[in-house]
Amino acid sequence: MTALVALSGVSKSFDNGVEAFGPVDLQIGSGEFVSLVGPSGCGKSTMLRVVADLLAPSAGTVGFPDGRPEIAFVFQEPTLMPWARALENARLPLDLNSVPRAEADARAEAALARFGLKGFERAFPRELSGGMKMRVSIARALAARPKLLLMDEPFAALDEFTREALNDDLLSLWHEDELTVLFVTHSVFESSYLSTRVIVMTPRPGKITADIALSQPTARGPHYRLSPEFGDIARRVSSALQQTTGSTA
């Protein structure tokens, strides 16, 4: 497996002296679903922004051995333009890259339909529920046809039912489109459910303390959330996390 992203000795500290994370060495292979878990404030989100080149690393390099892939980013908030309809929001990456309108519309419509929003193309964000807004946000990421999808606690603000439905949709998307996903979460269960690999980080400045490889999530059948196997994985991730934070809770 070739590495899609390779971080070597990457760290980030801010102008005010706060060290966010690092140094971190991490290779993410094409097709992996990697979750980053860690106590809040451990620099997970900062790391995601460094990978996306939204922030420059203070030290080390972020390399893409096979060239920089198309990258899409999904934030914790849906981050939609309130004045634009669902279709226009989903079309944004294409509009910014001057994709012809007809093609952009078709791709954005397909991305929305893919995420269960057929018939809502002309809706404004405030006419949609929290879960649907997040679906538009993911459809926008999809419309760009990314190879690498970066997600920063995308489902943290959603209720449990919506979150589980979106988890399943995300998994089938990852599988069908052969995406590589780097997923920041503070939920042990979510990371255990979604990932092929869970990276556990220490409190700030965040360093990698455990790197846990899991089975293929798509091979996991229905009712997996209730299975003993899932319980084992969650326990492993949870205990790695507890060791880093020193808590016994």
């Binding site: 080149d53 939204l54 934030f75 908030e77 981050t79 333009m81 004045w83 990456p93 964000p125």
Partner: protein, 261 residues
């Protein structure tokens, strides 16, 4: 509260006040040069209709031009500020100075500069000075208010400065600009009237001068008629701009959500 009640209540109050006013003036024999009765004001309005209307038109035309120029220049300067920090640092204090200096105190100076010859231009300049700042200030705030995450997203997808300005900052600023327009519309009217007062007989055509002159002649009923016209214009400007605001924001902005009461 239902819609008809919302219009009926203030209307009834207005009628009640007018009736008591009429009654009080007649009952206590208040001289017409102190407080004319509503019927006398109406009579003055009808008698002077032609003069009042042409005076109002002269004033209104300058108000509209001053407002449009203030809107265009305020937005343009705010865009410049948003693109260049140096410009903002250099110019903003002077824009504030222009705003806080009372227009009535600058008016005589402007009149002298324009030699009382090109008086319309002087009125325009003074009205612009008061109407300009709210547009500049609010638009600047609006352009700076774009969602941080959306800015990052735009950058991630390789947006140019122009695309960020046009597709993100401008729409974000729109509600701010519309709010400022409601303030500036009223201020432009005030600015022109104040300037007409300051110009005195130099401007002998506008409604501000009509008020001054009617006052000098103790034609108090005509003064009231002109005042009534002015508030009618002010209210119309406000409602027209509120309508524009509603039309542009009703689909997406929180402020236009139907209130749950």
């Amino acid at each position: 509260m239902n819609a008809s009640l919302r219009y009926a209540v203030p209307l009834l109050l207005g009628i009640a006040v007018l009736c008591s006013w009429e009654f009080a003036v007649r009952h206590y024999n208040v001289p017409v040069f102190v407080l004319p009765a509503p019927s006398a004001i109406w009579q003055a309005f009808v008698e002077n209709f032609g003069t009042l209307m042409s005076a109002l038109w002269v004033t209104f035309r300058i108000v509209v031009i001053a407002f449009v120029v203030a809107l265009a220049s305020g937005v343009a300067l705010a865009v410049l500020f948003s693109q260049s920090r140096i410009f903002e640092l250099a110019l903003y204090p002077y824009a504030v100075a222009l705003q806080v200096t009372p227009v009535i105190s600058i008016a005589p100076l402007i009149m002298i500069w324009f030699h009382y010859e090109n008086i319309d231009l002087a009125l325009l300049l003074l009205a612009w000075m008061v109407a300009f700042f709210p547009i500049l200030s609010n638009t600047t705030l609006g352009l700076h208010s774009a969602d941080r995450n959306l800015i990052e997203l735009f950058k991630l997808y390789g947006a140019s400065r122009w695309q960020i300005l046009w597709r993100l900052q401008m729409p974000t600023a729109l509600p701010f600009v519309l709010g400022a327009m409601k303030i500036s519309g009223g201020l432009a009217l005030i600015g022109v009237i104040v300037a007409e007062f300051a110009a005195g007989s130099g401007s002998d055509t506008g409604i501000g001068w009509t008020i001054t002159e009617a006052g000098n002649r103790l034609h108090i009923a005509t003064m009231f008629a002109a005042l009534g016209l002015l508030s009618f214009v002010g209210i119309s400007i406000f409602f027209a701009l509120s309508g524009l605001e509603y039309a542009l924001l009703r689909r997406w902005h929180e402020s236009a959500l139907k209130k749950v009461q």
